[in-house]
């Protein structure tokens, strides 16, 4: 990616400081909005952090957290491994890739939240529905990125695979996937964020446990400190993970 320009320690330090400044600006904005809208509509940053501390101190919070983590973990495994396998299979076959591409793009762009009654009718309320919801959100971008990377691989790699008489699985494992790692990681980044979103949407509409359920409950009782505390927790988790993936992404793209 073209953004990977500076990697010197000094540059990285300045960048981290800048990000902190932006975060600080957002918090100030939040505080201003709080003053503007009143605490019934929007709890102050401080009240939300206090509430987050309270939640983390409560024993009853952890089963909910574990439930969400479990659902997210399963959905993520399905999205990443399933997406990788399907993407490589479709990309390796020229015809299959050309046929599937517009269909996948169309599937990517339909608002999957509409399908929630369908998922509920098939999987019922509970873990399976959440996992299914997370996975249908996350898997498609992983497939698209992987497939496009494999389709545009340098032909000489494929020719050498044929020269060495590698079977399809060996070709995928030793040539296709390693050659496409940078794009695959980019796909994983998007798939990761969308899997969180999908799992949470599933929990909002279809569960009796989990962070999404707590959010829904807080929304119905207009408990803004709890809404914002959970939003903060989610954002912090997602930012940490995406920061790591972004760093990996940049390093990989620079290598090639």
């Amino acid at each position: 990616m073209a953004t990977a320009t500076t990697s010197l320690p000094a540059g990285a330090g300045r960048q981290a400081r800048d990000t902190l400044l932006v975060l600080l600006g957002l918090i100030v904005l939040w505080q201003l909005l709080h003053w503007l809208a009143g605490s019934v509509a929007l709890a102050s940053p401080w009240a939300s952090v206090v509430r987050l501390g309270e939640l983390l101190g409560r024993a009853s919070f952890y089963p909910n957290l574990a439930e969400t983590a479990l659902a997210f973990g399963q959905a993520l495994v399905i999205s990443l491994l399933g997406g990788l396998a399907i993407g490589v299979a479709l990309g390796a076959n020229r015809l299959a890739g050309a046929v599937a591409d517009p269909i996948l793009v169309a599937l990517y762009s339909i608002p999957k939240v509409t399908l929630y009654p369908l998922i509920l009718l098939f999987f019922g309320l509970g873990m399976e529905a959440k996992v299914a919801f997370g996975a249908i959100h996350g898997i498609i971008p992983v497939i698209i990125f992987t497939m496009n990377a494999v389709r545009h691989i340098r032909p000489v790699y494929l020719r050498s695979a044929r020269v060495m008489r590698l079977g399809p699985l060996e070709t995928a494992r030793t040539i296709l996937v390693p050659a496409c790692i940078p794009e695959i990681v980019s796909g994983f980044r998007i798939g990761f964020a969308l899997t969180i979103l999908g799992t949470l949407i599933g929990e909002l509409f279809a569960s009796q446990r989990g962070l999404g359920f707590l959010l829904m409950k807080a929304m119905h009782s207009n408990d803004t400190p709890t809404i914002l505390a959970i939003a903060l927790l989610l954002f912090a988790f997602a930012s940490l993970c995406s920061w790591g993936l972004l760093a990996l992404d940049r390093r990989l793209h620079r290598r090639t």
Binding site: T19, I110, T114, L118, I227, L246
Partner: protein
């Protein structure tokens, strides 16, 4: 139609036929899924009866408003960020994790700020879509080869000529990509908001039908919604293709 196009059509038709067969033969219970042909009939009936026309128009209006806002603000936001690399590097990690927080949890807040009217839903759709446009605008400007700007300078193009003849056309595929994502996200935001809390709109009607075990109405509406989204996206795609052909391809 090309061979690839024919195969693609065959795949889609085969999938729908399989669904039809599975539901007709009772492999899938009709409480879960109704045959696609019945969905289509229900969708046409909903349109003809005009009973939900207000809901449909309301939702489409809100989505359209959210979409336009997101594309305009997202594009100019992307341009601004591109001009300020330092700010951009600072914002990058935040943009990457933006979609992990379901924005519509702030829907109650929006209702308090904007009141009980269409604006909270529009703002939710906008907030959902805008980041995709910003990211794609940035990507598009990043991928313009440097040599294009050198050519522009050699040709002594004015600033406006450079923007309209070099920068925008070169970034167009990414801008279109961003716009297509905006369509999807604007729909997600508005529909999810209507699921949660609304007295009208397609999302409200779908949730209402779901709660009343009215599968025909529910699937009819879902089909209509998917048809709307796909139509908008396909028109954008066709427009993009035409622009590219006129320019003599990539």
């Amino acid at each position: 139609m090309s061979r690839v196009g024919l195969i693609r059509l065959a795949v889609v038709v085969a999938f729908v036929a399989l669904l039809e067969l599975a539901t007709r033969a009772g492999w899938i219970s009709s409480y879960s899924l109704i045959p696609p042909s019945q969905m289509a009939v229900a969708a046409v009936q909903i349109l003809l009866a005009g009973r939900m026309l207000d809901d449909i128009l309301l939702t489409l209006q809100n989505v359209a408003a959210a979409f336009v806002l997101a594309v305009v603000v997202g594009f100019f936001g992307g341009v601004l960020l591109h001009q300020a690399p330092r700010l951009r590097r600072a914002v990058d990690p935040l943009l990457a994790s933006y979609y992990a927080v379901p924005v519509f949890i702030f829907y109650p807040l929006m209702i308090v700020i904007f009141g009980l009217n269409a604006w909270p839903l529009i703002i939710i759709g906008f907030l959902f879509a805008v980041a995709a446009m910003v990211v794609n605008t940035l990507d598009g400007f990043d991928r313009i080869p440097r040599v294009f700007f050198k050519v522009a300078r050699v040709q002594r193009l004015s600033w406006t000529a450079e923007v309209f003849q070099v920068t925008l056309p070169a970034a167009a595929p990414y801008l279109f990509n961003g716009a297509k994502l905006c369509v999807a996200y604007a729909f997600i935001g508005v529909i999810a908001g209507e699921f949660i809390l609304a007295g009208a709109g397609m999302g409200y009607e779908i949730a209402f039908a779901y709660n009343n075990f009215d599968n025909r109405t529910m699937y009819g509406l879902m089909l209509l919604l998917l048809v709307f989204v796909t139509t908008v996206n396909m028109s954008l795609y066709a427009w993009e293709q035409r622009l590219q052909r006129r320019r003599g391809g990539r």
